[in-house]
Amino acid sequence: MNSYSTSLAAGLIAASALAGGASAQQLTIGLASEATSMDPQFHNLATNSQVRQNIFESLIAQDALQGLQPALATEWEAVDDTTWRYTLREGVTFHDGTPFTARDVIYSYCRVPLVENSPSSFSIYTQSVTAMRAEGDHTLIVETNGPNPLMPVESSTIAILSADAAGAEEEVVFNGEGCEGMGTVPQATAFNDPAVSVGTGPYKLVEFTRGAQLVLSRNDDYWGEAPHWERVVLRPITSAGPRVAALLSGDVDLIESPPIQDLPRLEQAGFNVVDTLSNRVIYLAPFQEDEAPSLTGTDGANPMTDPRVRQAMSLAINREAIVERIMNGYAEPAGELLPPPMFGTSGRAVDPYDPARAQELLAEAGWPDGFGVVLGTPNDRYINDEQVAQAVAQMLTRIGIRTQVDATTASQFFSRRNNLEFPLYLAGWGASSGEMSSPLKSLVATYDREAGMGVTNAARYSSEELDTILREAMVTIDDEERSRLLQEAETIALDDFGILPLHYERSAWAMKPEIAYEPRVDQYTLAFAVRPADASAGD
């Protein structure tokens, strides 16, 4: 295989050097999944979001580390607890040449709840907004129904459409009673038409053929740094093997999430591989109410309600070994719910591997002979998820907690997990907001359907103290104070071993040697951020 791949590399490099002149202005990317619509407000899904950012921008952008950067807004500030002021960028035009003003922002926010048949609506990011008004064309005042420190983060998720291209009336009003002047709101399929899909982004929509390809052309009037490629083709290649083959054969220039077992081979063949820590933590959640399903040898009791048992489980897991052997190094042992130094992390140390101490703790808790438990896991959702679960099961079994893995496809797993069918499960959480309130709110806050707290807390961990601090953090506008509160809340959950972080996944991209891409923690593949490897090459 070695000599093959070397000659293959040589051949490919020669071939791409020859082709360089002709195709230098076109970039073809192999994506692991396809956007479900060209409507940027249709489906709140990472796949759609990474595509829409080429065409539609938001008030605020997230950089590679999910830090907030000015985009269509140059400045933003909280005037008081429930009022925000955004200063909008001047001199920005839409793809059709019309200037960008506050009216477009108001229209875009108003449209979000009016999108029909949305599988997952963006309205969760707009529902705190009660009114918007323009002070001139380039200042926007936003009122919220309560203190909402995440307002800037949420602004980075809402695509700004052109009110004119969408057919709005001359005046768009968003006051306490709702919106007026919306005209006939175009629905999702209308956005396949480049005349409606009008944004301010670095690329314009040329053609979208579902299942086959999405073609973009450069917006030469873009206000920011011009993207390098004149034409971009995004191709969905959902299976990992064919995606790698497409890169090897030169069909595509860059692919996202190549399988980690292929990375050494790709590097050997001369391809560029970049990777970074992602915002996704893989964790174990032990069920913490008295009545747990699928436990054996406990006479109906649930040993995992005892923090010592949960601590024993954490100490029994050799995270280094999992990262090295199963993840091939493309992960990092996790001590928190979000990799430091992201917002709200405390830099807490990773739990050590100490099976002897784990056995002592089990004995202290009254379970010297351990017990039996079923570990639920998806087998096609996270990188090597089932293998990780198998390793964890063996490690737990070694200290006496006899663990049986129940692996199913993701769609099955999530349904069963939400029905509380697993006494112990492995899952992952990517903080789309890039800060700590996201995992805290969903994974460890006390389950409360109405308030939208603990929605993914299928282990039913609950701490009143944590809930109080988290609630306070969620209405604290001051960043420093909020960060401190989030750290405090996270520390409570981790001290209780309410949830056991295993590792942070690393996400990787592989590409031709001539191009470069800065890896992102949110795992987005953004065409406009792909550059030639060095400035002199490629043209």
């Binding site: 299942g211 959902t238 093997g241 929605v455």
Partner: protein, 325 residues
């Protein structure tokens, strides 16, 4: 004849109704689409609104009645993921799959029949034996593996053909087809060949067995005795007689080829219905899964019906025996 037709069509409709029930109940027994669709950040109000919008709050029997009622009017539901009629989404993808299946069919006949006849005429030569050995490989190696090897050899190592995708298409009678452009054709060859491999093996074996049988028949012996050239014997007398079973089997297999091009389409990122099915299963997009299965059921049953009717024309014994029974 009319009695036979009516009976046969009645049976087909019954089969479609039975399949509709099975498919609906089967698909609706797995998972909860809301858990997959809704963003994990959503609150309860959002989740409940989605459940109500998708009609998942209704009891199963009512969901089924709604589905059955709509299906009778040709409406197979609205996709959960795309928010558009499921049938429209599938129809968008149908031409790509049809094209792939037909090209594969042509390849399997054009290569399979000559090879099979050759192996049947010269069963003990090295050539005949290798054809048979090759057909065993075509049968027994998994389809996706064959696809990956084809990609590895022709796309990665040799660099002759693209590794996947559909390439350039042109419009023909309102449908987009790729076999009329060079670029489209290069994209078509590997997946079509991959899809054809199994059927080709089937055709080879069928052709060989029938050739051997036909060669022993009296009319072949008679033709030989009359002094006809071997070429004429093979092309006219042997070929004509072995084509009957080959055409029958291929007619039936075409349906399954259209319906189950799933593996090939996934391996070659071919934008057909099969790939849509896989994506929809992963997202638990029930209406699309159900519509897809119903469509394939209808296609297969229709092909069966047409084959049966043609048969009854060709061979009156078929319809007579059915009527008597």
């Amino acid at each position: 004849m009319i009695v036979y037709l009516v009976r046969r069509i009645g049976q087909s409709l019954l089969a479609i109704a039975a399949m509709a029930t099975l498919v609906f109940l089967g698909v609706y027994a797995i998972g909860n689409p809301v858990d997959v669709l809704v963003s994990p950040d959503a609150n309860q109000a959002e989740i409940e609104a989605t459940i109500a919008r998708l009609g998942l709050d209704q009891p199963l029997w009512r969901q089924f009645l709604t589905f059955a009622g709509n299906a009778l009017r040709g409406d197979l539901g609205t996709s959960f993921v795309y928010g558009r009629p499921a049938l429209d989404i599938i129809m968008e993808r149908l031409p790509a799959t049809m094209e792939l299946a037909f090209v594969a069919l042509v390849i399997s006949v054009a290569l399979g029949v000559p090879l099979g006849v050759y192996a049947g005429l010269k069963p003990d030569t090295i050539g005949g034996r290798s054809v048979m050995a090759g057909s065993i490989l075509g049968f027994s190696l998994p389809n996706f593996w064959q696809g990956m090897i084809l990609i590895l050899i022709f796309a990665v190592f040799l660099g002759w053909l693209p590794a996947g995708g559909r390439g350039q298409t042109v419009e023909l009678f309102g449908l987009r087809v790729s076999f009329l452009t060079t670029n489209g054709l290069t994209h078509l060859i590997l997946p079509a060949f991959n899809l054809a491999l199994f059927k080709m093996a089937l055709v080879i074996r069928l052709a060989r067995a029938n050739t051997r049988e036909v060669c022993l028949q009296d009319y072949i012996k008679f033709a030989r005795a009359k002094g006809l050239s071997p070429r004429r014997i093979v092309l006219v007398h042997v070929l004509k007689n072995i084509m009957i079973p080959v055409v029958t089997i291929l007619g039936l297999e075409l349906g399954s080829m259209i319906a189950f091009a799933v593996v090939t389409e996934t391996v070659f990122a071919w934008p057909g219905m099969g790939k849509l099915l896989i994506d929809s299963i992963n997202l638990l997009d029930r209406p699309v899964i159900v519509a897809y299965l119903m469509l394939t059921v209808v296609i297969i049953i229709t092909i069966n019906l047409v084959v049966d009717i043609l048969y009854s024309f060709l061979d009156p014994r078929v319809r007579l025996s059915e009527v008597k029974a």
